[in-house]
């Protein structure tokens, strides 16, 4: 019996030791900062700015942990599992669900400090991270939709300026859509639009419509919404514009870069592509053509802190530095991000840059596309658009189906 107990004790100890050796939970001494990592270059850039911060505030012990893969889901998972970083990037489009779940730290108190100058930020960006008057994120960068146009093609067609309104957009696009080899299929399009809800929303906002109205009800069957959607779809169906997949392209930037079209609606992420992969394109940018009013969609990100964080003070120091003049300047100078502070843009002379000026001016009338619907609405909206583009349903039919689906409460 004694031998057995020895053996058994050995096994028990072994298993206990092993079990707890794996238990090292996330480090609680450090203030953790997380963001997505779209590429190694960006990661290095952030690390560089953080090194500057460390020189300035050596007392703050922090760690930068970029999160690969489905970022939005992961952060929410971490919030739910008490493993969230103390400071993290927050996408404007996803902000409402975080605010709804009440898991973010309100930042008004911190930002009230007069040296912080919250009023320096573009209001449209701040608004994306506010619920009522409460601020839940400090904008770090932004990217609005603008119109990219091919100057050579415009010149060839005798056009002297980018389209100013919807009518011109359609007319110009038609003029530049042509079939040069006579096979019955155009080999140059005026415009390539993406069948995505974000791009459509730019037109909806210009038309005074909304996906979800202020009171929370759906606006997708309202006249303003449907008119804009019908205009957008008509451009495609009447051959004035096309979609990337019809040109065997992954996205419209590829069509623009390979000179298959004269105009695309896109944003900052197209610029490095044009510079590195398609440097023979002579391009320019302009504000989106105007509908009833000026409007565009902006993609903006912010820094946020979880309510649960135990390092809020240090966390705020990081946010404070990264969104300060110095912090923003170094990011803007090295990369292609646009500063959310008007003063930084002015000080760096970005308003004198013909390309950046267009982006900055667009921020004045831009909006983040947000809804407070349950997450699955986005997939449902994509399905509805697929019905239009690939099943030949009318915009009204598709929106009625989407409306039914959302109203049924199944997504809750």
């Amino acid at each position: 019996m004694s031998k057995l107990t020895t053996c058994w004790r050995y096994v028990l100890v072994l298993s206990i030791v092993f079990t707890f050796s794996g238990c090292q939970s996330t480090d609680t001494k450090l203030t953790r900062l997380s963001g997505w990592s779209s590429n190694p270059v960006e990661e290095k850039l952030v690390a560089g700015v953080l090194a500057d911060f460390h020189r300035e505030k050596p007392a703050v012990n922090f760690k930068y942990e970029p999160i690969p893969g489905n970022y939005t889901e992961k952060i929410q998972l971490m919030l739910g599992t008490h493993t969230a970083p103390d400071v993290f990037y927050l996408r404007g489009e996803t902000a409402p669900s975080y605010m709804r779940f009440n898991v973010l730290e309100p930042l008004n108190q911190y930002a009230a400090d007069t040296t912080f100058r919250i009023d320096d930020f573009y209001p449209a960006l701040l608004k994306s991270f506010q619920k009522g008057d409460t601020l839940y994120g400090v904008p770090k960068d932004f990217n609005p939709y603008v119109l990219f146009y091919n100057k050579a093609m415009f010149g060839e067609a005798g056009l002297t300026h980018p389209p100013q309104n919807w009518k011109e957009l359609e007319a110009f696009s038609r003029r530049m859509t042509k079939d040069t080899n006579g096979d019955g299929k155009p080999d140059q399009y005026g415009l390539v639009l993406e069948p995505t809800i974000e791009m459509i929303m730019a037109f909806v906002y210009q038309n005074g419509g909304d996906f979800q109205k202020e009171d929370g009800t759906l606006g997708i069957l309202d006249k303003n919404f449907l008119d804009a959607l019908e205009y957008y779809v008509r451009l495609y169906r009447t051959g004035a514009a096309t979609i990337p997949s019809d040109l065997s392209a992954k996205w419209n930037g590829e069509c623009f870069g390979t000179k298959k079209c004269a105009m695309v609606i896109s944003s900052g992420w197209l610029i490095p592509e044009l510079r590195t992969n398609y440097n023979d394109v002579d391009w320019g940018v302009a504000e989106l053509p105007v509908g009833r009013q000026k409007a565009t969609i902006v993609f903006t990100n912010a820094y946020a802190m979880p309510k649960e964080s135990i390092h809020k003070k240090d966390g705020w120091q990081i946010i404070d530095y990264l969104t300060s003049q110095d912090g923003l300047k170094s990011v803007v100078k090295q990369g292609l991000a646009l500063p959310p502070r008007r003063s930084v843009a002015q000080n760096l002379g970005l308003y004198n840059d013909p390309v950046k000026r267009v982006f900055l001016q667009s921020a004045e009338f831009a909006r983040t596309f947000q809804t407070t619907l349950p997450e699955r609405w986005y997939e449902e909206a994509s399905v509805a658009l697929q019905m239009i583009y690939f099943d030949n349903k009318t915009p009204r039919e598709a929106m009625e189906a989407l409306n039914r689906q959302i109203e049924s409460g199944i997504l809750q």
Partner: protein, 275 residues
Amino acid sequence: MKRLQFQKFIFYAVLLLMTTVYIGPFIYQFFISISQSKDVFGDPVKLLQPPNWTFQNYANVWVDLPFKQWLFNSLFITLVQTIMNVFFSALAGFVFARLTFPGRKFLFGLLISSLTVPVIILLVPKFIFMNNLRLVNTYAGLILPNLITITNIFLMKQFFETIPKDLEEAALIDGCSYFRIFWQIFLPVSTPALAAVAIYTFQGSWNEFLWPVTLAITSDKFTLPVGVGFLKNQFQSDWPLLMAGTLLITLPTLCIFLVFQRYFVQGVAASGGKE
């Protein structure tokens, strides 16, 4: 006789075709992994020309990605799970094969019947459970649920039942403890079964995807399949890099398989299958 020759020819032709279908993709994978991005989807012949080859992709996988970390995680988790599985499944298999106690049959039946329960049904409750223990995104959380596999217990029990009883009876009369019988009599003669369990568990743990992809949130806790699975989003068009990464994941299981093929086949044949 001629007809027989013809039959033989057809037979080998089919065999060769099948072999191409089954390992051809891996050869394609290898050639992409040593190619340059621009050649990947061009003329396939270009992939075969030595001047176009480069091993840079492997260096990139190793240097640019947290590959070392993922490799460590995968190895650590897999080894712990394999060792524990071998030990505990042998122990439990021994009990079910040799000891009699009330409820033995019922218990064993219960274990076997749970094999048909889909893994996905366990996912949400296991996750909540781990969350309550604050084990999400930890090694313990990744390792614990797969420390013991019912199939392995079954396999060991089947094997132990084939061992003749004379030896242990003599030992019992000499006053040997059950643990000593297990340790000194059963284990030494069970190498094939233990090897099968070990290899089998190694392969299963190494390739496991659903649990780590759910439980590991940050990159420092990723296993190789999870890490490389996410690379796909990040390096969409860098096929040489992706193929080099995926090929590296395959190597350990492939080597173990080629060396211990015999046990592999025995294990599958005896257990009848995966869970």
